[in-house]
Amino acid sequence: MYMFLRIVFIAVVLAVLGGGAFWMITRPAPMAAGTYEGLTGDPVQGETVFWAGGCAACHAAPGAEGEARLVLVGGMPFKTQFGTFHAPNISSDPKAGIGDWSVADLGNAMQAGVSPQGAHYYPVFPYTSYVHATPQDIADLHAFMATLPADPTPSVPHDVGFPFSVRASLGGWKLLFFTDDWAVTGDLDAQQLRGRYLVEALGHCAECHTPRNALGGAERSRWLAGGPNPSGQGSIPNITPGGLSWSEGDIAEYLKSGFTPEFDVAGGEMADVVKNTAHLSDEDRAAIASYLKIVPAIQ
């Protein structure tokens, strides 16, 4: 009997220690202290970050056009194999939106995937891309978003089943798939570096254009090589040089007006993306095009 109790006791201690260790490793960790300290946001620069980051594509009300795209009330649904996520209200409303967030709150959300309350965000929010952004860009974006309208409509809750409904499990997901390494490295000139920043960080192009594994992690060996659309309908194109033969001028024009080289137009989700990239400078669109030409070609 004594022996039995001893074994049970040891088992319980080990379980607690193991669980504790797992919790320690996977607990929601914000960015390093002081990352956003002393930064002053410039709302004019922030507008570029806003359009490059594509915030309105998901957080504007579905179907919003023109000025209405600046009301970041959320609501757009994202159907995935894990359930349906809904983009939240990130308008400047202090209650329903994020109007009371500090720069650090915004930075921790966008770059660590951690809420001001210390919970993990689902990676449908592309913090895996935004992690590459500079803290100054976060501060500028924060300043710009404060100038946008407030909307008191509450966020629509996610419709996600067990076990994905347990946010603590995202700590394990982050451990496996969340990296701040650039995908394309090597000798890049200034234009290619800017392009890499716009594509890999702010533009978060890889979130759709890089295929995902069964757990929803990016298959980085097939960077930007496309694949089936997670919505179950159609496919997402390969935009590496192995799949896209457009010239740099063609790519830049597509991101500006939405016209393909055949003068067909962007459809589907890309139509919304072009509404963002249309706001960028010609130099930034050319930078994106130059980066796409140096991505490893995948068939």
């Binding site: 496919s235 001028g249 063609d250 024009e253 007006s257 939405g258 016209f259 003068f263 139509a271 249309a278």
Partner: protein, 157 residues
């Protein structure tokens, strides 16, 4: 005898192919309408291509050619297309089209989109002959007008 069997097989194959074609455009009028609206889209694309090539710098800017292409867009977007979109010519009813049933369910939206295209075409025609920068500035809104309609009413590839 062998020849006869072959002939019968060939006839049967023809029959199957014929039936398949028939099913895709069961109503010849529907098939004709789909063909005509694709041709219309081609006309848009060709004229947009003239403007776009200049905008991208692939073709030297020529005020007269730009004006002509823009005027064509105004003309094409001004044609009455009612007969091109008969009931039952959506992608759920027939093969060979990406036209979504939403086109017939949302007359108000379609009318608005068509008007937006006419406006964007007129805006292009107003500046295409001025200079290259003006032409480039009008490309975006034109693309937006085309894209809005294709996003809402055309099935993905």
């Amino acid at each position: 005898m062998k020849k006869l069997t072959l002939a019968a097989a060939a006839l049967a194959a023809l029959g199957i192919a014929g039936a398949a074609i028939g099913a895709s455009h069961a109503d010849p009028a529907v098939g004709a309408a789909i063909k005509a609206r694709k041709a219309t889209m081609q006309l848009y694309a060709f004229n947009l291509g003239q403007l776009g090539a200049m905008a991208k710098g692939d073709m030297e800017y020529n005020a007269a050619a730009a004006q002509a292409a823009a005027d064509n867009l105004v003309a094409i977007s001004g044609t009455n297309q009612m007969a091109l979109w008969p009931e039952g010519s959506d992608n759920a009813s027939v093969e060979g089209t990406r036209a979504l049933p939403a086109i017939w369910e949302d007359m108000e939206g379609i009318t608005k989109s068509a008007a937006a295209l006419q406006t964007a075409s007129a805006d292009m025609a107003a500046v295409a002959g001025t200079d290259l920068a003006s032409l480039q500035g009008a490309m975006g809104p034109l693309g937006g007008a085309c894209g809005a309609c294709h996003k809402a009413y055309r099935a993905a590839d």
